[in-house]
């Protein structure tokens, strides 16, 4: 029991206390200009009313961004996991090669892709040059900017989805496949009646973890497009940074943090419960 103490100290001082402090701040007018004052839900009201804040915009962009990344990464990961599962030769090589992008920091990944997407010198425009009339400004065109961010982030997360789903595939008893093939099941049948049902937990977990991560982490958007053009890629995380450092309004930043937490918790908790906690009890 004593063993838990060093850990609890870390968690209480560096996670629990700050979170409580943050919640407390969110009910206070705290902007380094006027004296601190308790204003109950005033900060939340300000955030949720669309006239003054970018909250709704950020929420919309974060939602589109995170759901696209999580879906694309999970689907690609599923396909990749199945291919890697069936490969006999060069198993280790392919598994290593597909893992690299997971290990690369998101900021570094953003700069790598920024160079690929570059308008005047980018390799992507060069490769597309037979099909397009003039170079596309990927990073500064409305709509395309978010797409570039999604491509970059998905690139980073595919290996993670692949690893989790592959582990699930490998835990399926091969005799099941044998029996299915003996009974004359086609590949589609095997996929829909064995692979998907037996792997549903892994698929949900991969999706949820990637979704959670992309919903709240603005690293890619911050360094790839900086929220621009205009506010076309204005992620909630960037909004939070602006709140703390540009507007120095801690009360509202606190409220934003709490809202970010609540949104994640409401969506992710049931999914994680379904994917991790329930299966581990059986």
């Amino acid at each position: 029991m004593l063993c838990t103490i060093p850990g609890l100290v870390v968690v209480v001082f560096l996670v629990a206390y700050p979170v409580c402090f943050n919640i407390f701040t969110s009910f206070v007018k705290y902007d380094n200009v006027s004296p601190k004052k308790f204003i109950a839900l005033g900060n939340y009201q300000w955030l949720l009313s669309s006239e003054y804040s970018d909250f709704r915009l950020g929420l919309k962009i974060s939602t589109i961004y995170s759901f696209s990344c999580a879906t694309l990464a999970t689907l690609t990961g599923l396909v990749l996991a199945q291919i890697l599962y069936s490969i006999r030769k060069g198993k280790g090589f392919f598994r290593t090669a597909t893992l690299f992008s997971w290990g690369i920091p998101l900021v570094i990944a953003s700069f790598i892709w920024k160079w690929i997407f570059s308008k005047d010198l980018g390799i992507l425009n060069y490769l597309l040059s037979p099909f397009i009339e003039e170079n596309i400004a990927w990073l500064t065109t409305r709509g395309l900017a978010l797409l570039t961010a999604i491509i970059t982030t998905t690139w980073h997360h595919i290996p993670f989805a692949m690893i989790i789903i592959l582990a699930g595939l490998e835990s399926i008893d091969p005799e099941l496949f044998e029996a299915a093939v003996m009974d004359g099941a086609g590949y589609n049948q095997i996929f829909w009646s064995i692979i998907i049902p037996l792997n549903r937990h892994q698929i949900v977990v991969a999706f949820t973890i990637i979704w959670m991560f992309t919903f709240r982490t603005p690293d890619v958007l911050f360094s790839l497009t900086g929220g621009g053009p205009g506010k076309n890629t204005y992620h909630l995380g960037i909004f939070l940074v602006d709140m703390i450092y540009r507007y120095v309004d801690f009360g509202k930043a606190g409220a934003l943090g709490v809202l970010l937490f609540l949104t994640t918790a409401v969506i992710a908790t049931p999914l994680l419960y379904y994917g991790i906690i329930r299966p581990s009890r059986n």
Binding site: P6, A97, A265
Partner: protein
């Protein structure tokens, strides 16, 4: 029928229909090639760019293979820029965090996993739930606390945040590992007169060493990748890790992409090396952390 044959069969609609199986095999490799291109081309392109001269980088059309192989970007980044300091800082942050976190988390997980008491399951659950708490909610309170405590713009500040972030995740990964150590082994060590702490360091940790090494690597890579919070609290150039320091190469004018690429290569080398050396173990560590309860 061997296991690998069965895997092969999965891809064929019928065992006897060989024609179809070649088609599906080709399809499989085309898809694999596309995904590999997507995953690996950016890395190739970064390596290639880092060996080009600035004049070649600024030319249109871009060359897929450097016309003139040059180390000028590496010489610039390693000698004329503060990049070595950034890399040293990243190493410092990541090494300290991973070692300290893994040691503390081993002790915690050992206690929770091997000597369960009333509420230990709930504590595990609590650690798991911290995963749902966005690290972003910690930014503001930690910045205010740091300002009051004088930790703003210090190494300690960065380290504390990294530890708080990685510690619960590490516990979750270690749990899968420690649960596999058999209780009878611990019992026999107890009978031989080992103290419980001694058992941790001379029985449990040595047995699970490969797994612990992998978890240390994972925590190392996660700490290496941390960006936003460090970006917010660190102003001093000499304290920046590489993820923050790379902004040095984003000048007021055009970015010198060959120097940028060289610094990218240097900053992704640890990940590359660790993944090549310990791919299997990393995969196992990640899956036990994410899936197993």
């Amino acid at each position: 029928m061997g296991l690998s044959d069965l895997r092969e069969i999965r891809w064929n609609r019928k065992v006897t229909n060989t024609k179809k199986s070649t088609i599906s095999n080709i399809g499989k490799f085309v898809i694999l090639a596309f995904i590999l291109l997507y995953l690996l081309f950016p890395l190739y392109w970064t390596f290639v760019t880092s060996f080009k001269k600035l004049t070649e980088v600024l030319q249109w059309p871009p060359t897929l293979i450097p016309r003139e192989f040059s180390l000028s970007a590496y010489i610039f980044t390693l000698i004329n820029s503060p990049l070595p300091i950034f890399i040293f800082n990243s190493f410092f942050y990541a090494t300290c965090t991973s070692l300290v976190v893994v040691i503390i988390a081993s002790i915690t997980t050992y206690g929770l996993s091997k000597y369960p008491y009333l509420g230990s399951k709930q504590i595990f659950m609590a650690f798991f739930l911290t995963r749902i708490i966005p690290p972003q909610i910690l930014w503001l309170p930690l910045i205010i606390m740091y300002t009051r405590m004088g930790l703003q713009d210090t190494r300690t500040g960065v380290l504390l945040f990294l530890m708080a972030l990685n510690y619960p995740l590490c516990i979750w990964m270690l749990k899968g590992l420690f649960d596999e150590v058999s209780d009878s082994l611990i019992d026999s060590a107890l009978i031989d007169g080992c103290t419980r702490m001694r058992i941790l360091f001379s029985v449990v940790i040595p047995i699970t060493m490969p797994g612990i090494a992998a978890i240390t690597i994972i925590v190392f890579l996660w700490s290496w990748a941390e960006f936003m919070f460090t970006y917010l609290i660190i102003d001093t150039e000499t304290l920046k890790p590489i993820t923050v320091g790379i902004y040095y190469f984003v000048g007021d004018q055009a970015v010198q992409w060959n120097n940028m690429a060289a610094s990218e290569v240097l900053s992704l080398l640890p990940a590359l090396i660790f993944i090549i050396l310990a791919q299997k173990r990393i995969v196992r560590g990640l899956t036990s952390g994410a899936v197993k309860g």
